[in-house]
Symmetry: C2
Subunit: 208 residues, 2 copies
């Protein structure tokens, strides 16, 4: 039955080509410029062919975003995360921000647009769910070990997530010169994480 397998491989290959072409367009030109026709041109197929592999443009972009976020997750799990939960939250925040700022179009699609795809956002393997799970675990430990006050774990996790998301999304949305009054200060990401952490810690100086 090598034939079915070869066909499988060929089909998978076209799918890869589509994803790669779309990825390049998406990364460099953003969502609106990922045109089904442009993708088709890039891989020298007709636009209709894409629909044999992806149900819609959104499904295609979702697929490539999931892939890239998966790469982030993998890289983050491979890196040695601090044992101390507070230090870990710091490290996670930095990594999260770095990825978002390095991949603004991915980030925008995943975390800043409505989109039907978010029906899957809940599922355990979706990028938001995976990122959130790691953070949440650190928060559990931070509370257990007395760094944070006893509190709703998800409330604390959401505070932290929204804080770092706020920085990332603002910087993605406004070009430096479009910031009101002053461009984003250097160290804003760091300072933002730090302020939020400090606000959550129970005994400040000695614990941080």
């Amino acid at each position: 039955m090598g034939i079915a397998e070869r066909k499988e491989r060929e089909k998978e290959d076209v799918r890869r080509q589509i994803l790669d072409a779309a990825h390049d367009l998406f990364e460099t030109q953003g969502y609106e410029n990922v045109t089904m026709r442009a993708v088709a041109d890039a891989i020298e197929y007709s636009p209709a062919t894409i629909y044999l592999h992806f149900a819609s443009k959104d499904a295609l972009v979702e697929a490539l975003c999931f892939e890239d976020f998966g790469r982030l997750s993998a890289a983050m799990n491979r890196a040695p995360l601090p044992r101390n939960p507070v230090d870990r939250i710091r490290a996670l925040g930095r990594a999260y921000a770095a990825f978002g700022l390095a991949n603004p179009n991915h980030y925008r699609f995943m975390f800043m647009t409505a989109g039907d795809w978010k029906k899957h956002a809940n599922e355990v393997d979706s990028p938001p769910a995976r990122s959130y799970a790691v953070l949440r675990q650190a928060v559990v430990e931070a509370i257990d070990q007395g760094f944070f006050a006893k509190n709703d774990v998800d409330l604390v996790s959401q505070i932290l997530w929204s804080a770092i998301h706020g920085v990332v999304s603002l910087v993605i949305t406004f070009k430096p010169e479009q910031f009101p009054r002053a461009p984003p200060r250097p160290g804003l990401v760091e300072a933002s994480i730090e302020a939020t952490l400090q606000g959550l810690l129970v005994g400040r100086e000695d614990k941080a």
Copy 2:
């Protein structure tokens, strides 16, 4: 010269009709569903007529957003703001969040999309600039009066802005059931403001 004035009034009237129709569509159905054709239908003019009053769809949406944000600014300046700068920051954050959550489409267009209009974001009377200015003033006072440590005023302002923006934009983007693991906890906005403030205050218990 009553004739020119009447014509002026009539022109202004059509402009108003366009803005109102677009406003309704925008508020209830969001940016993509504000179609030039739909607006034209609503006011019983041809689509081309809109272009006699607005250079583009984006210019139209920008105009109505500016109007509504102006209403916010006005309301906020009319309300009595606490003299204590820290309390004032709290109040500002609450008002900002309330407006954003009540007008998600406005908020999304203004603070969560790229858009050419942001060339004007810098100008002193733009909604971002106006909101930011009020916050910044409170931060200046908070530092002067020793509530916050001496620091770059804009850095601190950006920390606060991004924190509250993070909450608002997350809640706007994800429906409750789409949140990973747990829907936004009640009091998230409050807790987020509080955590950030606490993180910035110099002597916690006694000053807050």
